[in-house]
Symmetry: C2
Subunit: 342 residues, 2 copies
């Protein structure tokens, strides 16, 4: 039985779902993976932080957040306010980084993960920023320290995408991929097919907590471009920036256009695609495309996502994840945790 | 660098595709997995056998088979005619078992795999019979001998199904699955939608080498039932026989019925399904079902296959494999080989 001390930086919906999942899976982790754990540090964005080397009562932490209190009351020692200093001071073996994504720089999450690896912790994140902006650096740093930098939850929530290529598809070379990776735009397109206006569909996506207050990042294809960049960077092992993705959002698609396509047996989808050509160059784009009913993208509705991989050994292998939520993302963190400690 | 000596029992389309794939991936296996190999034994069904501890020239073996010759001319020593004695006499570290499937008993493949494990070899197969009829025994035998019994290619060809749950989905409990797992019937249903008669569609499936001369095993749902039994046995860790699957084939579906459904936006599919109920009992069935265009099964055409997994951590995760062939099955064997030696 090996005991792991866990530090959580960022304690929003995903961090809280992760703590609940850990509790639910406690017995299985011990019996199947000989693994016990305690949460020794939590830092939230707006509700304080706590360090307790004996283990923080996570139920109590969740209750404090629900009642709007501060985590500080759970701390058994004082701690630095600056976050990288906080991380370095954590009595922890694994850092889970779940702060909000910064598409432009990946910061401050990169600094958090770097501090963790330098302090001898595994570094696990659901944050796309560091993957796009610092994957090769953080991977090298992890290798140097004999630790792992894992990030399964950054694309398609907890669906096993990165671990698929890391383990289940040995000696497979990714040639191209194609998919639907942004929930907000897919939901908007689905709802416009049913007659809602663009604005109504956006408001609905916001009301269920999928779209941001400013949904431009989704609608103009930036979020999709970041996910494409993450997949290319990791799975094609080539640093790739979101700016390199040829990008068209969904603003030109109206309910009339969406409905006309549907009548003809086609659907407008915001399609992400990348391909390595024979010269070895990678070309990537995100743009609205009409897909017919022979494409697996055709049935992908609402917040469901799909990616179709073309490799040199399996012609076309697709993964679909239906109806994700914070608990799905939390599962990706748990899977990363188990795999990092194997 | 570790060297592995490989024995191939069964040398039909899949065995030959595997030998070609090994050659193609030779450099990558060495550079990425520190793994070299030689094929030291081949036994074919009707074209003799050969053992050469120094390594058989696999190009030569392929040429001999193409010209209708006997492999015996490549052997540097005499060998027993009885197959389990042949396997025991192989100077090999890994056995690849690719003899024709026997749905009723799993034999003689079970004996072959048992002989390999008892002789200290990893045992890898593309043959469903042993999985359905002897999974728990062979797995235990492999564990006792510190070897692996792997069989990725038995369901959905080389698509990573078993290795997904073995590695990429830790601590996930499979609650239910649903899918299209038989190519022949799916192809027949697709072609009937396009106006072909049942008999024409069967003949087409036979002409491209998908359907057997007697296609009853596919049409009456037996092949699907065997695959369901394999998935339940392994992924739900519960011995399950094909006879326990409630089984209805596709004989009642006519072109008129298929076309009428299509006009209404639905398609007839031979759907495989299993679920563990709250009492812990597993119920499984295969039967034609109409699926609508919100189901990922809807776009699955021709020889493409799909399985949709419902787990306690990811609501719905689907895997689609498009357009498989012998080289896809061969990739499953290669993946098993690499994973067995890791």
């Amino acid at each position: 039985m090996t005991h792991y001390r866990l530090a959580l930086v960022g304690f929003g919906n995903v961090g809280r779902a992760f703590v609940r999942l850990l509790e639910r899976k406690k017995t299985e982790l011990a019996s199947q993976y000989s693994l016990t754990f305690s949460v020794t540090a939590i830092a939230s964005g707006r509700h304080g932080a706590a360090i307790n080397p004996q283990g923080i009562d996570s139920q109590q932490a969740l209750q404090i957040l629900e009642s709007g209190g501060s985590l500080n009351q759970l701390s058994t020692r004082s701690f630095p306010q600056e976050m990288t200093a906080f991380i370095r001071s954590c009595p922890a073996d694994v850092l889970f980084e779940n702060t909000p994504v910064n598409y432009k720089t990946g910061q401050p999450a990169i600094d958090h993960l770097r501090a963790a690896l330098l302090s001898g912790m595994h570094a696990i994140t659901a944050n796309k920023g560091p993957v796009v902006h610092a994957y090769h650096e953080l991977r090298a740093l992890a290798q140097t320290h004999g630790k792992r930098f894992f990030f399964e939850s950054t694309v398609m929530d907890g669906a096993p995408i990165f671990s698929l290529f890391r383990g289940a598809l040995p000696a497979a070379r990714l040639v191209a991929f194609r998919g639907i990776l942004n929930s907000t735009t897919n939901l908007i397109l689905s709802r416009m097919e049913n007659g809602e206006s663009f604005d109504e569909a956006v408001r609905y996506a916001q009301s269920i907590g999928i779209a941001e207050t400013d949904p431009a990042g989704d609608i103009d294809g930036w979020d999709a471009a970041v996910k494409i960049a993450a997949l290319v960077t990791v799975l094609m092992d080539t640093p790739f920036q979101p700016q390199q993705v040829k990008r068209t959002g969904i603003r030109a698609i109206t309910p009339a256009i969406a409905q006309a396509a549907l009548k003809e047996g086609e659907r407008w989808k915001l399609v992400c695609a990348a391909r390595r050509n024979e010269a070895g160059e990678i070309q990537a784009r995100v743009a609205p495309e009409k897909v017919g009913r022979t494409s697996p993208l055709y049935t992908v509705d609402g917040t469901t996502s799909i990616v179709e991989f073309e490799t040199d050994v399996l012609e076309k292998l697709s993964i679909i994840e239906a109806d994700p939520g914070p608990s799905t993302t939390a599962y990706g963190l748990l899977a990363d945790f188990i795999q990092a400690t194997r």
